[in-house]
Amino acid sequence: MIRPHRNHPLWLAYILHRLSGLALAIFLPAHFYVLSLALTAPKDLDGFLHWADMPSVKAAEFGLVFLLAVHFFGGLRLMAFELLAWTKDQKTWAAASVAFAFMIAGGFLLRAI
């Protein structure tokens, strides 16, 4: 059974912010490792970047860009919510965060393919 508070749209905003942050934190060490190949093994980095041209990897990158963008916009909303005067349009801003993130990730995907 879903507990009542979990049906609230801002609970979804909370869990999206938390899960996107966790996913980005898990992704970061791998991201840093791949970039450091530029110094230690440039051929391996080129091989990786060639592999990353595959459509399925581009789709995964779309997901990563979306996670970063939604964590960014959701974080701005959260800080405005914490530090500025209360406004009634929190749900609108939470929805707008997802919309802006889709716009950026969609723009990335359209240029990538």
Binding site: L22, A25, F32, L35, L39, L45, A52, M79, R111
Partner: protein
């Protein structure tokens, strides 16, 4: 008190990162066109002090920010407290700092 300080530090690092994330998103959307290669990345970043400062600041801020975030999640979901929680967050922060600064040096060193 530590929790309040970490809360403030997480917001401070978030504010520092806000313009950097926007820059990083814009760069990704711009640079992905036509695919990436080691040469294309290094041509932009190698020997560039502005990029070294941009991504160096980013790495320091994200290491602190992510470690505090993961600390909160571990504390709430696994009920870990005290010295163990401090150690876990410090180790994760150190890992991100080391790997991140190594990556920045790798792509910006002349």
């Amino acid at each position: 008190m530590l929790t309040l300080r970490l809360f403030m530090l997480q917001r401070l690092t978030a504010l520092i990162m806000a313009p950097l994330v926007l820059g990083h998103l814009a760069l990704m959307v711009y640079a992905i066109r036509g695919g990436l290669s080691t040469g294309a990345i290094l041509a932009r970043t190698q020997g560039s002090l502005p990029w070294a400062l941009f991504y160096g600041t980013f790495v320091v801020a994200v290491s602190i920010h992510a470690a505090i975030g993961v600390r909160v999640i571990i504390g709430e979901t696994l009920k870990t407290r005290g010295a163990v929680l401090n150690l876990l967050s410090l180790v994760f922060c150190g890992l991100l700092l080391f790997a991140g600064l190594r990556a920045v040096i790798s792509v910006t060193m002349p």
